[in-house]
């Protein structure tokens, strides 16, 4: 490790890290917001479930680099536009979470739903105040997987020249220089761990009724 190089590159690395965070987190939030209604729809209708989960599975099979390249055709963006990365990762996040949200709602005990109904909750109130909160642990488990894989997938965009931590890898490759590569890998792993930890905390905060010992 060449500490001196890292010192000189500090501003640039912070800039890349900032972009990496944006490119990983925005799709995560967007993906969750889109997956919630879709997952609810899949949960409600037995015919829609296999259809939505099937489409999600097909989208999830498309390799990331291919999706980054194909999206400009659909969106009309330039190949270097970071929007392609946001769109691609949003698609992956939705594809992963639709099933998770549907299964989370499915996992809510029937008695709980019946109890809410008996207490006079309308169906949307029951969904927002009972079923979704009870499903939070399952949803956050899926969200953790999506968050960690997003961080890793963002770095693939470096091959197209979109700046984020992956740029440190291509830079290191061109210079035959280990320092940026190792720094990039470490920062990616740390970022993934921080996001993972934040989702665990969020889950705990949203589900105060669960026992404090959490099996991960």
């Amino acid at each position: 490790m060449n500490i001196e190089w890292l010192g000189r590159q500090f501003d640039n690395i912070v800039f890349l890290l900032g972009w990496h965070v944006l490119l990983a987190v925005i799709p995560l939030v967007l993906g969750l917001l889109i997956a919630l209604p879709l997952g609810w729809w899949a949960h409600r209708s037995r015919r829609i479930y296999p259809l939505l989960v099937g489409i999600a599975g097909l989208l999830y099979t498309v390799p990331s680099l291919a999706l980054f390249v194909l999206l400009p055709l659909v969106l009309g963006t330039k190949i270097l536009d970071p929007l392609n990365i946001v769109a691609a990762l949003t698609i992956y996040t939705v594809a992963l979470l639709v099933r998770v949200v549907a299964d989370a709602l499915e996992s809510v005990p029937e008695d709980t739903v019946q109890a809410a109904k008996a207490m006079g909750y309308r169906s949307y109130q029951s969904l927002l105040k009972v079923e979704l909160p009870v499903g939070v642990p399952v949803i956050s488990a899926g969200l953790r997987v999506a968050a960690v894989s997003n961080v890793s997938l963002v770095s693939v965009a470096a091959l197209l020249g979109i700046p984020q931590l992956g740029s440190l890898f291509t830079q290191g490759f061109q210079l035959r220089f280990f320092t940026p590569i190792i720094a990039g890998i470490l920062l990616c792993v740390i970022l993934a761990m921080i996001l993972d930890g934040l989702i665990i905390l969020l889950n705990r905060w949203l589900t105060p009724w669960t026992p404090k010992v959490v099996a991960s």
Binding site: P63, S64, L67, V69, S152, G172, F173, C188
Partner: protein
Amino acid sequence: MNYLFDPRHWTGADSIPTLIGEHLLYSLIALAIAAVIAVPLGIYIGVTGKGVFLIAGLANALRALPSVGLLILLVLLISPAFPSKMGYILPSLIVLVLLAVPPILTNTYAGVRAVDAAAVDAARGMGFRTMKILTDVQLPCSLPLVLSGVRSALLQIISTATIAAYISLGGLGRLLIDGKAQNDYSQMVAGAVLVALLALFFDQLLAFITRRVVSPGLTRRTIKSASAAEAVKTPVTV
């Protein structure tokens, strides 16, 4: 789309069929190595309960590692020692295997764990030896999960093999990387479409194989237990 339908790109040394062949060759070699490592290990951990920490820890840690960074790091480390083509083939294969082991390992483990204990006891009661229980009861019963692990591993491999074109590995990723270098977007699109089709094809192929080789008795049971709540409402007619 011009690139894809130009007959010149379908014959010769760097033609599309050659690239598909290379892509498949590397992918299947990596998948085979990963399966040879992960399936026995998963069975061992599942049956004995030793080394369970490997399952959760390894799978999550490896998912966080950026594959591009890992590829480039290994190439810089290994290629000085192997001046020939092995200088980039070897690191690529290592990364592909590394990424493919966790899904197969965790699914094999989960599959073996999920086998109905009563079925194992029944087999033992019928006089099956431990080895025969493994090959005739536990393995067939865990096959659906093992195969679903293989399926996600293969997708991961096909996707990452594309990226490995950056460190000069052959395969369909070449079209994407070379197209980028030459500012030839139609070549990149051709590569992207072909890689996506390849992934979809193999995903569906494995889904088909899973349906063919998994014992029908098993799938019926899974359907019943998976939707137990529904089964109460609508009596199952078998």
